[in-house]
Amino acid sequence: MVVGLILLAIFVLLGFMLIGAYNRLVALRQNVNAAFADIDVQLKQRQDLIPNLVETVKGYASHERGTLDEVTQARAAAASAGGVEARAQAESALTGALGKLMAVAEAYPDLKANQNFMQLQSELADLENKIAAARRYFNNATGEYNASIQRFPAVLIAGAAGFQAREFFDVGADRAALQSAPQVKFS
């Protein structure tokens, strides 16, 4: 009788622990989703900025067609990319292309003095900062979620309840793109 009660108590306790663990995982996963949605908003804003930017640059530096096309294509690729990893790669390619465009713009004093271009440039810089911050927040949230599904007691239910590890919005690819990015020549 007493043993039965103790066993019952243990089971009830374990049940509560698992319910708690499940709810925490749901909250953490939701946090990851919300963080990705936030990156998404910033990336979309950057994509919306690009046609305007390309048009402005075209007006002053129309024969830089190669660089301009590259930006336009990278934008299209980024807009259509699905999944975290593909998205991260497409966006980092876009970042690289934009960097090149900005470097090219350095050679056109008239363009640099253009009011519209200056505003676009500062908006872009602001967005890049926000994207970087949002991406770190996302990676942090993903790391926390990935760590949590491997911890006890959550690990007991994580697999069965469909909690799978998520991909990081990888900075590695970005870093490579940034490092290979434009070299400003003064010759």
Binding site: A133, Y137, A141, R151
Partner: protein
């Protein structure tokens, strides 16, 4: 559970706060129990043979007194709560700032509120050089976020947003209320200590209807002094520990809202050492930063900035920019006499703004 990231870190700190709050009633009960025991030992109460010894007897007395104690405590709580509300409302009664005067700060705060579906708190500005900010208000409709002019002048947009998010997190978490509850508890314990002390000093009427007035008052006095001192000390330590825990949560919550740990870190670095601002003690806990450390940080409302930054970089992935630290231009101004450690356990209660009756 060990924190592995921002969310788990916030959860852990919230659990910690609740446990600390629960600690208050237990502390009070423990003090009553020890005092009763002390009276039995000092032969001011019967030895309690009928109940099987002093300890069960003390327990029995405590339980017998519980209903009355609970009623008294509830009434006290209600009155003290209203009183504290009046203090806070009075202290933040400064002019609210409309959007047209501080468009940047106003819009930042409004955006943060929209992102969480909150009603916009009143934005206020204090015209002073110090760089600080605080949240106040005990219930919906009275919430406000106050910034100093120095803060508005010296922080950039991201840092300002981080500070606003920090204060907004205090509001979301109802930290003002938590700290008022904690200060009422601390006040109850302080008054309790004083009642005991007065009763001893004014001639041994403490025996309960004169059952045995010849008890060893000297022994009881020592017990009461020790219990009172420990209780008083613990009450303040618990209260301040809750305050520091809420600060960590507000820092983390700020990152959660803005997604930018770096801005919170650099804001802390900028304000550190320049935060002087006059305010009642029950509101200091809601400050952005208050560098009044006290003895070994036990009595500080805020953790040291270095620790807060370390937590931000560990759990929120922030990057520390060492160069951003601005050395204090002048020695920190002398703090007002609101520091709790200046008062002994039995004295100085009248200067203590936290007392619910004072």
């Amino acid at each position: 559970m060990q924190a592995v990231g921002l969310q788990t870190y916030i959860w852990n700190n919230n659990i910690r706060s609740v446990l600390l709050l629960i600690g208050f009633p237990f502390l009070l009960l423990g003090m009553v129990f020890c005092l009763t025991l002390g009276m039995i030992w000092a032969r001011m109460l019967p030895s309690g043979y009928d109940y099987g010894g002093p300890i069960p007897y003390a327990l029995h007395l405590m339980i017998a007194a519980a209903p009355l104690a609970i009623v008294v405590a509830l009434v006290w709580f209600a009155i003290a709560y209203v009183f504290n509300q009046a203090i806070i409302d009075f202290a933040t009664g400064s002019r609210p700032v409309p959007r047209t005067e501080e468009p940047d700060a106003y819009n930042l705060l409004e955006n943060l509120c929209i992102s969480r579906g909150l009603k916009m708190p009143t934005l206020r500005v204090i015209e002073t050089e110090g760089m600080n900010a605080f949240a106040s208000g005990l219930h919906e409709g009275r919430f406000s976020v106050t910034l100093t002019r120095g803060l508005l002048q010296n922080l950039d947009r991201d840092e300002l947003e981080a500070v606003l998010a920090h204060e907004l997190t205090h509001i979301i978490n109802r930290d003002v209320r938590t700290m008022v509850v904690a200060s009422i508890f601390a006040g109850v314990i302080t008054l309790f200590c004083q009642i005991v002390y007065r009763s001893i000093v004014w001639g041994g009427v403490w025996g309960g209807g004169g059952r045995d007035r010849r008890g060893n008052v000297g022994l009881f006095l020592i017990v009461a002094m020790v219990v009172g001192a420990i209780g008083y000390f613990l009450a303040i330590v618990i209260r301040m520990t809750i305050s520091r825990t809420r600060e960590y949560v507000a820092d983390a919550g700020s990152v959660e809202l803005t997604h930018n740990p770096d801005a919170m870190i650099s804001a802390l670095q900028k304000v550190s050492g320049h935060t002087h601002l006059e305010a009642p003690e029950s509101m200091r806990a809601m400050f952005l930063e208050d560098d009044d450390e006290g003895i070994m940080g036990l009595f500080a409302t805020h953790p040291p900035v270095a620790k807060r930054i370390a937590a931000l970089s560990q759990y929120a992935g922030g990057r520390v920019n060492e160069l951003a630290v601005v050395p204090p231009s002048s020695p920190a101004p002398a703090q007002a006499s609101t520091t709790t450690q200046e008062h002994g356990p039995w004295g100085g209660r009248k200067d203590e703004p936290s007392g619910p009756w004072s």
